[in-house]
Symmetry: C2
Subunit: 245 residues, 2 copies
DNA sequence: CGAAGTGTGTCACCTCGCTGACACTCGACG
DNA sequence: CGTCGAGTGTCAGCGAGGTGACACACTTCG
């Protein structure tokens, strides 16, 4: 899922670059933004035709905080990109709940399930008020077939997610919880802050909240972080990085 | 990395299907096999031209048991596919060694690093005598650019690996070691056998060998498996599956 | 303002898996 | 056929992290 955690500013910038006056269509700007999300374009720049093709097929949907976008076991409903807000992907419930990933603006999901023709294996829940751009399955397939540049980019995007996923596995194997927590905080930070409750962070590591809390308080005493309500501020990212190993 | 764990028989079959008499080139048969490895072709069947293009660029290399194919930090030397034998991908050394993956015949690697222009993050070591087919970076890029069907297939292949990687993360989070071991054995079994020493299996789960050994002996007492020298035989896969949760 | 819901801090107890060690067994190879 | 390296079986002690519980703080919304 993780792809590029573009700050909102990047979107604005992209929009400005592409905006050609009042007539510039919102859909085209959205499509250009999606193109940026789906892999960086060094190897495969998109042409105007590619962006237009994307724009023609995008739909916008909005969910309120706490809403469930889909549940594990559902068939994938095309491909979607988070434009605003965060979406939590989790497996299991109650005490056994594990958070597979937290999608940030710019992250893409649903493509894997479509490509492999498999059901969704996790449940998606909006952590904030969320806007997603979506693309139905047929349109996605058509895009890939008719726009080689888009297919090439999508390949980079999926490859990027695979690399992230593998480095997460390495992070989980044989590391102490302290190292894992330091790494998680660095990975999830946006503008020096991790705006997630401890319960969610604990579920991302597959540990219990008290265990996480203990480590967080140690970090706070050492001046590495600042524990706030439903959020954590990073005070010394460099030192946190050395702690992560 | 895991893609399709094709038994040797599948390769033979593919070769037979494509063999057009004594003149059939070995390289073309190899290329057809690679094409099967890289995603199943429902959505994007390969044409004759695609297979020929693959064949033109393949090189064969052989490594003996224990040889190091590359070390973490090296630049990716193109894309390669395991044709025969197994290759262990690991991070760290000594007590901290973790096994990221064990490549089986048919598995592909090196493409991700090339696509993202990143160095290899793990060390590859031959577990048996190994033959790999390899493809240099320029040829790979050319293939993707000029053969949309291959690009489409490669996308499925990477997507498949991402799905595998994610399900491994779910397996690691919040599961008891017993469940993890059961799942690992099922995932790694080839013809009802897991031909790996306990030390390697332990490194795949990021645990110590005595911990793994204890669970294995419990499974053996329960009649689920049979512990052999540097190998484990599955006696009751169905029951093992229920143990995996 | 005040209640309800959600998040945080902390504790005592207990289990699971790590540590380091040692004896034994298997298989390859000279 | 004997030797050596690699793999396996097992143990006692220890520490990290899970469990369940409870008090308190923050926020939100009526």
């Amino acid at each position: 899922m993780a792809l590029s955690k573009l700050p909102a500013a990047a979107m604005e910038q992209t929009m400005r670059l592409l905006g050609t006056g009042p007539a510039a269509d919102l859909a085209i700007r959205q499509a250009a933004w999606v193109a940026r999300c789906v892999g960086r374009g060094e190897a495969a720049p998109l042409g105007r035709a590619d962006v237009d093709a994307l724009a023609a097929t995008l739909r916008t949907r909005t969910y309120e905080r706490g809403a469930v976008l889909f549940r594990g076991g559902d068939a994938a409903d095309g491909v979607w990109i988070v434009q605003r807000g965060r979406v939590e992907l989790s497996v299991g419930a109650g005490r056994r709940r594990s958070v597979v990933y937290v999608l940030q603006p710019g992250d893409v999901d649903g493509d894997i399930q479509h490509l492999l023709d498999m059901p969704l294996t996790y449940t998606a829940r909006a952590l904030d008020e969320v806007t997603v751009l979506s693309l139905d399955a047929a349109a996605f397939e058509k895009l890939l077939a008719e726009h080689p540049q888009i297919a090439r980019r999508w390949l980079s995007s999926v490859a990027q997610r695979l690399a992230t996923s593998q480095s997460r596995i390495v992070g989980l194997l044989g590391r102490s919880l302290t190292e894992q927590v330091a790494r998680l905080l660095l990975d999830e930070a946006v503008d020096g802050e991790v705006p997630l409750p401890q319960r969610t962070l604990a579920a991302m590591l597959g540990v219990q909240r008290p265990s996480l809390n203990k480590i967080l308080k140690e970090f706070e005493r050492a001046g590495l972080i600042e524990v706030r309500y439903a959020a954590i501020g990073l005070r010394d990212p460099a030192k946190l990085l050395t702690t992560a190993g």
